[in-house]
Symmetry: C2
Subunit: 671 residues, 2 copies
């Protein structure tokens, strides 16, 4: 058997494992596996440095399947090359509880580097992985000690390249000259509505050249030697990311569906599957057939992988001896561990008698203190660092000053920022953060959701969190973004009330390893809550706590978050003067509070105290959970306005006298 | 006084009106007005066909200020050219209740064509306007009767071009060969974090050429003859949109801030303002000075505008005589009026004994029926038309078959789709719709929000609305998107339960003139609710209604929306068999229901019936409003899973027996 024919046999095995899996599941996407199997095969067989026995090996090449709907192709590769994934599991494709879901999911299947499906995300995740690789390499590699040195590859589709998030990420990758980023573009000219020409007539090569990429092709993406030499050219083009334009045929081999959108998103059907197998001279009509010689060929990946990893392990041991301190730190960062006293700098950031201070400003101080203790703390803002206060003053600009810099300049690209930060977290060795105004969460909802779905540690900083931002007006004033954050399963959202709570919020965020955290911060200055008179801010860790009360038991409960805690407090004191005993609860995080034992929640919000008013400068939607249907949730059921912040607060009834009056009204109704 | 010097005087007047407005407001953006005033002046003085006396003149050129933060410059132009905006109002810049908000707002200030501020939106809105212009021109213009024939201009900034939404819209504009779209790119090399080179090193000219645009420049954007000849070149380049790259200096003239990010987003300060005025040889230190000769020069716009509009009016009258039917229809469409019996085709779309049918499928039939009666009904999908069922079968593809086509192919570009649809609505003469999966609402949140803020009629169709979509898994299964839609002030969200409710939902959407509507539709088939046994679907217009009840008064209320109404109904019947009297409420639209008089709401959900269970295959957040804190909201507080839809429903407890059991549990607790 010649080399070519084993290659073809391997490629057809991948194709038909995918086709058969889709056929058995009665749903899925056969078109891309049929067309893209050759390029995926060449990459995995000739280039990809990975070890199926240890999918978490630090220095492996990363592979992103940005067109996540081609999942069956990746599952085939994972099974064939010997990851912990059985053929039986491919037969359970898209079934409840299986490790082979419809779109690839990080954490579900070993060897899947990121969750993809929503197009463009994987493209940007890969950019984040390449950024992380370069950052770690610059920090840790030493002359003759190349500890971190791997490629990030992806297969990207027509759909990926049409999404804005990919454009944003591509422009940034070009600016940052990420030479070890190599993307194979599965250019099959077909998307769901038909030929891409109806909506996508651009010159992709020219566009990527404009971004500063090295473009190879178009090549015949189904021709093995062409793909092989293109990847070599891409590797040789140091200092620029590469896009290899691979012409392929969607649904290749299917006599009646190839080259059409009919091949994209539904099973070929039994008869068409039979014809396709015949047409591609695949002798096995029996589904899920894997010829032994094919399995043997693919499984060499395990041997190669072990060798690569062992070689690296030797280098790592030498490195440990030569640079013990760096090696220890690198190990720690790759594990994502923190020093036991990582937060020791956070105690001394401001004095108790300091005047009012915006929570974004405290956050900035906290971040600069964190950076001194957590070397892997790296991130940036979507061109708003001076406003979001996210600059780490002593740590340089990544890519601009040097690749050792910790400050990313994402440009005005919130969506890519989120997806790139996800990629950095997925790579490991980095604790990433992002910064923008809360309103622009709307520009980056998909990556925040995906981080929550993947359970990865990313800190999203959202400042300018309400109408309190003032004159910029309703286009910049969030109303529904806070409930938006709270609605994402697995995301922890914290809106601290003052400097002390902001410090506590950052502690929670950094220690929250298994999911993302959103920090919601004020533009405007806020008083510092007196830690002697009031309950300590450490109560934030429980999500909500009794901040102050006039007497026990209280007549009414006033609940606030963030900047409105101060209004709540003031209203409590107004009520006190009127002889009404109020309890003021600070509720910075619904998720943390809801996770407390019922006993604690009832201690803070006793069920028998039904007179409750909440105040938050945001949509009141969802507040019924805490104030009850008979309570009053003061908030904004409309958009904001352009005016000084304090004027808007007053005009829209977000003030202590209004809160107190509503509480009294409720009390009277009860009596 | 030479021609040049009046030009300079005019430009400096614009500059200092903006600078003084920012100074007085103590907040705002002086940098762009100082640098971009010359290009804006040349465009408005030499090219823009508009009539300040009638900002709604149909055939005016459209002008979009995509960098909405440069609002003060536009207010200066509007005042100076004689729109209904006084100098006094410019002095009220960014104050409560003024018509000169921080970012330009459609509907607030006459002459403002769209609300901008969130970057990239205006860029894409302009593309929508140009699409609408071309569509109307193709439909209505006749030989020798050019009724619709205008340009769409915009000033776009570095920030706009970095945003993915602009990339998406640019690629589509190139594909569609929108020759009457002319954008001036204010290329000042500075954004908030400093030089754009730190994040934006791409070759913009080459990128836009790749999209199929005609690129002029870079030119000196502050040189009047250069801008003038560039716009002429752009006009001459028919068949391709044009980007004129204008090099400018941010904060031009400011001795200490020009060319730096310090000029961007804060007042220059009194002393720097003084120095800048001196430096630009502006003799008036008194704020808000408008030399009489400048006002006289600008105000010629009124005369020119009246003449243009009168000439057009004459053409329109001739057209009315030659093509009375077309003229009548055009007038009607431009007013956005509907025929009294516009919905007459909707009664006969399916038979009552038709089997189960997905609401997306009914929606597709409704849309095709609507298209027969509403000629201006135009839209499309983000490459999902076969799945969203949004294709108008008899109406061609816009730009591909012909520009008369009603079907837009937006490509895999949800964000631009939303913003382009907004632009189409803003232009007038079109009732636009968009289509994608509900999960991809996350990709297009900003334009949906802006449509709600602007109060414009756009119908957003979101199909595949729950875990019911099945095997595609959690990346494609919405959980928090429904509460997301409901949280946007001014947006009407409707999730119909069956074919009949879908017809009613479309009626509401089309008749909802002063804001957008989101239609949330199932992928899976749903039974058709029996209109003889159950309450008529017309109840949908009130947002919620009693669909069925075993007896009155009921013991329990079961509330459902969309596909879960059928589960609610089944649970009601299970309870009936057990001797428990249940009322089943269909609640397809919270906004419509909450807008009903209290009397009606209490009729449907009587306060004294506290035993309530809701079921919705989405985040239960916010449901406390209808079930009370003691009621039970059955939903999803987690992400979905990849499996057949019915399996996921069962595994996650979304079934009638669970609903009935929860209701019984509540009942027992009450007793």
């Amino acid at each position: 058997m010649t080399a070519t024919s084993i290659d073809e046999l391997c490629i057809n095995t991948m194709r038909f494992l995918a086709v058969d899996a889709v056929e058995k599941a009665k749903s899925g996407h056969p078109g891309t596996p049929l067309g893209a199997a050759p390029m995926a095969y060449v990459l995995w067989d000739r280039f990809l440095k990975h070890n199926p026995a240890d999918p978490k090996w630090v220095n492996r090449d990363r592979f992103v399947l940005s067109c996540g709907h081609a999942s069956a192709m990746l599952y085939a590769l994972l099974y064939l090359t010997g990851y912990d994934l059985l053929l039986e599991e491919i037969k359970q494709f898209r079934q409840w509880g299986s490790r082979t879901p419809g779109h690839v999911e990080y954490g579900t299947t070993p060897g899947v580097e990121t969750t993809t499906g929503p197009l463009g995300q994987g493209f940007a995740n890969g950019v984040g992985m390449a950024i992380a690789e370069r950052s770690l390499a610059e920090h840790y590699n030493q002359p003759d000690h190349e500890i971190i040195d791997h490629y990030t590859y992806a297969i990207v589709s027509d759909g990926d390249l049409q999404e804005g998030v990919a454009s944003e990420a591509a422009s940034l990758a070009g600016t940052l000259r990420l030479g070890k980023l190599i993307y194979l573009y599965d250019d099959n000219d077909v998307s769901i509505e038909g030929s891409t020409s109806i909506a996508f007539a651009e010159n992709v090569a020219q566009r990527f050249q404009a971004y500063g990429w090295h473009v190879v092709g178009p090549i015949d993406g189904m021709d093995i030697p062409s793909v092989e030499s293109a990847i070599k050219m891409a590797q040789a083009a140091e200092g620029r990311p590469s896009l290899i334009i691979c012409h392929t045929i969607i649904g290749y081999g299917s006599p009646n569906k190839a080259g059409t959108s009919a091949a994209h998103g539904e099973p070929l059907g039994a008869e068409e599957t039979r014809l396709t197998k015949e047409n591609l001279r695949w002798p096995y009509q029996e589904p899920f057939t894997v010829p032994p010689e094919v399995l043997a060929h693919f499984r060499q990946a395990r041997e190669r992988g072990s060798r690569w990893q062992e070689e690296w392990q030797v280098r790592m041991e030498t490195y440990h001896m030569a640079y013990p301190e760096e090696a220890r730190q690198l190990d720690e960062e790759l594990r994502g561990d923190l020093l036991p006293d990582w937060d020791r700098e956070l105690a001394v950031l401001f004095s108790d008698n300091e005047g009012p201070i915006a929570t974004r400003e405290t956050s900035g101080r906290v971040m600069n203190a964190i950076a001194k203790r957590i070397h892997s703390f790296t991130g940036g803002s979507a061109d708003l660092a001076p406003s979001t206060r996210t600059l780490l003053r002593e740590y340089g600009s990544y890519g601009f000053d040097e690749y050792r810099g910790h400050n990313m300049h994402f440009g005005v690209r919130e969506h890519a920022m989120g997806a790139i930060a996800n990629g950095m977290a997925l790579h490991g060795g980095i604790i990433p953060y992002t910064g923008t105004f809360l309103i622009f969460y709307d520009y980056m909802r998909p990556p925040v959701r995906l981080a929550a779905l993947m359970g990865i540690r990313v800190v999203y900083i959202f400042t300018h969190d309400s109408i309190g931002l003032g004159e910029d007006g309703p286009t910049h004033q969030p109303v529904e973004q806070l409930i938006g954050l709270r609605s994402v399963p697995g995301l922890v959202t914290i809106r601290p009330a003052d400097a002390h709570e902001t410090v506590e919020a950052w502690k929670v965020a950094i220690e929250h390893r298994d999911g993302p955290t959103a920090l919601v911060l004020s533009r405007q200055k806020l008083p510092v809550l007196d830690q002697t008179e009031l309950a300590p801010a450490a109560g934030l860790r429980r999500g909500g706590y009794i901040l102050w009360e006039a007497a026990q038991p209280p007549d009414v409960i006033i609940i606030g978050t963030g900047s409105e805690v101060h209004i709540a407090l003031e209203s409590g004191k107004i009520l006190q003067e009127k002889g009404v005993s109020a309890r003021v609860v600070s509720l910075p995080s619904w998720e943390l509070f809801d996770a407390q034992p019922e006993e604690y929640r009832h201690e803070v919000l006793p069920p028998d105290i039904g007179v409750r008013v909440s105040i938050e400068a945001a949509s009141p939607l969802g507040w019924e959970r805490y104030v009850g249907v008979e309570g009053i949730a003061i908030g904004l059921s409309r958009f904001g306005a352009s005016a000084p912040g304090e004027v808007i607060y007053e005009k829209l009834g977000l003030d202590a006298h209004h809160v107190a009056a509503e509480a009294e009204k409720l009390l009277r109704r009860k009596i």
